[in-house]
Amino acid sequence: MQLRYVFSELGQGLRRNLTMHVAVVLTLFVSLTLVGLGVLLNQQADKAASYWGSQLQITVWLCKEKDDNPACTGEVTDAQKQAIEKVTKDNPEVADYHFESKEQAFEKVKELLGPDKFQGPNPAATAADMPQSLWITLKDPDQYKGITSAVVGLDGVSGIRDARQTLKPLYGSINALQWGALGTAAFLVIAALLLVANTIRLAAFARRREIGIMRLVGASTVYIALPFLLEALVTALIGVTLAAGGLGAFMYFGVHQRIEGKLNFIPWVGGSEYVVAVIAIAILGPILTLLPTLVLTRKYLKV
């Protein structure tokens, strides 16, 4: 098959409908970037969940001197602590546990809020204000009801904190961002499909004489449709390349340089997750342009 004509038509077609092609490329760029972000966020959620899921800790606050919980009758006693430890040790859901002293708790708070507030004559709190606690590591993050219900009613227990309660907002915002990105992408994908359809309509109209003659002299349908398909492929590749670049920039300047250092209590997406996102958009991009092209060339170029 002689492809000289096809390639000269491809160049001409891209130039003739330049504004439409630019519109298609930009829409593809933005929508594919959003899809890529959605894929990255999805992996981020998986990553964070698997990390926290494997190290999920439940914290049991023990009673202190002036506890908010009326069930407490003053500072937890050693006997109470031994009873709590025994229940914990015997529970099949527990993998590991350790006690945390008032001083250790105080150090953590100082670290989180900065030491300034705890110096001088009027400190915000002292070690004495902190509760002692028991840190329980679960065998299975989903199996926690047995141990919590066993411990919660014991003397000397003030309350229980499930780490998942703390992580929920994080998972929630990752989830919201993911669906926000994918939802916005869905609208843009529709816009991209319509733009592609319109581009083909314009191109078919601009080339109606040639197409009419090609059909008349017996050019095959594939041959007639080839310039359209190649145009679709070229715009898709440009869109995918731009989106991959955009995602790469986001990964480097956003995740790597900004977030990763500051929020290091969870693992962040990296190179391999980026590759997965790029593969996803590299598949989606050409589908978005080739599919309407195939459907419409069948319609407009029917022999």
Partner: protein, 229 residues
Amino acid sequence: MIRFEKVTKTYAGMGHPALDQVSVDVDKGEFVFLVGASGSGKSTFLRLILREYRASSGRIYVAGKEINRLAGWKVPRLRRSIGTVFQDFRLLPNKTVSENVAFALQVIGRSRSEIATLVPETLELVGLEGKGDRMPDELSGGEQQRVAIARAFVNRPMILIADEPTGNLDPTTSVGIMKLLDRINRTGTTVLMATHDAGIVDQMRKRVIELDDGRVIRDQAQGVYGFQH
């Protein structure tokens, strides 16, 4: 070469058939005029041969094949064996004469060397030697129609279909075009031509098929135009 067996064509949404139980047999190498009033079905007849439409009923054989049953992807192959010329030339205005003729070969995948020999050869046959580099709008109507004929004939089709090829031309120019079609016919190509030109039909004395409201009302060897508008 071409055989219509009780062919009826009713366009979608039309109650009345454009062709009604038409049976015609055209042998290889024949020259046939299709005449009849406007709307009698001449163009429909020709378009059915090209499989631009399928017949509503009946059978159409072209070169022994029943084209109504031809799969869609085989239609281009059928059309490569048929050259087509229209009243309005249908040249590509941004291509030279040579490029217009070469286009028909390029798009069906003929090689460069074939194109390089066939195009000048055909331009010479239609009397356009030396005008290959002109643009269509630098040619007279008669010359443009010669380019169109060259494009239709460059692939050496078995059949040449011409739908009022002289409709836009003055009588003298038309005679030149008819001589050309006659010459092509004498190479063994079957020629079917729809026309309203009484002078030409009467002069050529070829087979005449007259249609009236979609029916064949006359099929005459060495016929004349034979009716008044």
